[in-house]
């Protein structure tokens, strides 16, 4: 029973493995099931937020509200030509009257198609990069031709959505940390209960000259194994649920929800959770056992 990383079969026999109902394995399965789901929610939302940011960053909408349609069309064409001359601009395209009428249909009905109805000209602009300087140059170019033109950054419209997603990501991260703390607390309680159950054996070991580290290793191994086995079970179940939800999301065909996908790196992180929790459990068990043993002679 000397200090070794992997205990021998004889060391493993020291704590009566037949005792107890291994409830710890099931508790850990539930903990990891919930943790992996929370982790997946956080990673998926973060991925969606990044995808949204990538899509909207550097996109502008120019509105020309000149009432006279012929002037408005000329101004629109001039603005597009000016924008296309800028090296920062990847694309500048007018939004067709048909598209605008479709967008306005909820408010105007079929009147939106009336050619006499003064509808602002709209131009979609994609910039090569989303830097503040590039945006300022594009705005200046537009305002030189039409000082009254209104220019909106598309990302500002989606800012509340981005903020919401960031909040969900933070919440999921907090949930993972909370579950880790709860796991450590469960392990400490289990280790203390184990010490009580095996009090007689531990007293004998102490009297024979066992060190606290030797005794704590017996508990660490057992708790780490329970956490790993339970954790793998919980993680497998959670991954199955995540895959099922992923298929449902894909079937919806939503642009926004399509960003809520897990990358290979995200899956690796989720699959590492039971190992990380087993390490955490080992550490917590060691702290709990050595602290308890230090109070006896």
């Amino acid at each position: 029973m000397a200090v070794k990383l992997i205990p021998s079969a004889a060391d493993r026999r020291l704590l009566d493995e037949s005792r107890g109902t291994r409830a710890m394995t099931w508790v850990m399965a539930i903990m990891l099931f919930l943790t992996v789901l929370a982790g997946a929610l956080g990673l998926g939302t973060r991925s969606a937020a990044r995808s949204l940011d990538r899509q909207l960053a550097g996109r502008l909408t120019v509105q020309i509200v000149t009432p006279e349609s012929a002037l408005r069309d000329r101004q629109g064409a001039a603005v597009i030509a000016a924008l296309k001359r800028l090296p920062d601009v990847k694309r500048a395209t007018p939004v067709s009257r048909e598209e605008l009428a479709t967008l306005l249909r909820p408010w105007l009905g079929s009147d939106g198609m009336d050619p006499d109805l003064p509808i602002p000209a709209m131009i979609d602009v994609d910039l090569v990069d989303a830097s503040e300087l590039a945006i300022a140059r594009a705005i200046a170019a537009v305002q030189r031709i039409v000082p009254a033109a209104r220019i909106d950054r598309q990302e500002s419209w989606m800012a509340p959505v981005s903020d919401f997603m960031a909040m969900i990501t933070s919440l999921a991260g907090a949930l993972v940390l909370l579950m880790a703390a709860a796991t450590a607390a469960v392990v400490i309680l289990a280790a203390r209960a184990g010490l009580e159950t095996h009090r007689d054996t531990i007293q004998v070991l102490h009297m024979l000259g066992s060190t606290d580290i030797q005794v704590s290793r017996l508990f660490q191994r057992r708790i780490a194994l329970d956490t790993l086995v339970g954790g793998m079970l919980g993680t497998a179940l959670a991954c199955a649920v995540i895959a099922l939800v992923g298929m449902q999301v894909q079937a919806l065909g939503s642009d926004l929800l399509s960003g809520v996908m897990l990358s290979a790196r995200d899956w690796t992180l989720l699959l590492l959770l039971p190992v990380l929790f087993a390490l955490l459990a080992t550490f917590a068990a060691r702290i709990a056992v050595t602290a308890a043993l230090s109070r006896i002679l």
Binding site: H206, M207, L208, G209
Partner: protein, 234 residues
């Protein structure tokens, strides 16, 4: 012979009650054999607990292997305990381990490789007459058999001091004689042996054994020979 244990005015009190041991002073010579006697409640088990470092005294000085055992840091206790073999009054065998594994326990605690364990454990099982019971677990062993397993466990690592609390309490006279013979054999190999017993018949069986008698928590030493043992030739 050098002194291996020294008690000076040792007192022990549990909680706020009366002292269980008072002003106990004695010296144990290395390689000697001692009987500790006294009526029930005289403090024999408490004295042995101090000897095998299961308890610290409330007052006084204890020197063990030449070092102060009272202020010994906790982390050094395992090293000291490995040099002391203990036969507990209630055996304290690990119930779910076989007789073989119980006897092997001190060697495993000391980090002896598994390949070097089988031979000495087999030898010990034969020594206490339990070779055919190696795989039996304590609950299936008789009181006498459990006693012998406990003794084998206490002596397998050849301790410098062997402390036995009523080791013959659960065995018949023949077995008591045999066990005492085992202790004597170990003593002849150089181990200091302290046997607490009620059994006055055993006291004369070990030639040259010293007698320690406790009465009401005090060690009777009318001649002072326990405190200041006569110098003997090496």
């Amino acid at each position: 012979m050098a002194n291996i244990v020294q008690f000076e005015n040792v007192g022990l009190r549990y909680g706020t009650g009366q002292e269980t041991l008072s002003d106990v002073s004695f010296t144990l010579a290395s390689g000697a054999f001692y009987f500790l006697t006294g009526s029930s409640g005289a403090g024999k088990t408490s004295l042995l607990k101090l000897l095998y470092l299961a308890q610290r005294p409330t007052r006084g000085l204890i020197r063990l292997f030449g070092e102060d055992a009272v202020t010994l840091p906790r982390k050094r206790l395992p090293g000291f305990r490995r040099r002391i073999g203990v036969v507990f009054q209630d055996f304290r065998l690990v119930a779910h381990l076989s007789a073989y594994d119980n006897i092997a326990l001190p060697l495993r605690v000391s980090g002896v490789p598994e390949s070097d364990i089988a031979a000495p454990v087999g030898e010990m099982l034969a020594w206490v007459g339990l070779s055919d019971r190696a795989g039996a677990k304590p609950p299936t062993l008789s009181g006498g058999e459990q006693q012998r397993v406990a003794i084998a466990r206490a002596v397998i690592s050849r301790p410098e001091i062997l402390v036995a609390d009523e080791p013959t309490g659960n065995v018949d006279p023949d077995m008591a004689e045999r066990l005492l013979h085992l202790f004597h054999s170990l003593n002849r190999l150089g181990t200091t042996v302290v046997v607490a017993t009620h059994d006055f018949h055993l006291l004369g069986r070990i030639p040259g054994a010293h007698m320690m008698r406790l009465d009401g928590g005090r060690l009777l030493d009318p001649t002072g020979s326990l405190r200041f043992p006569p110098v003997q030739p090496e």
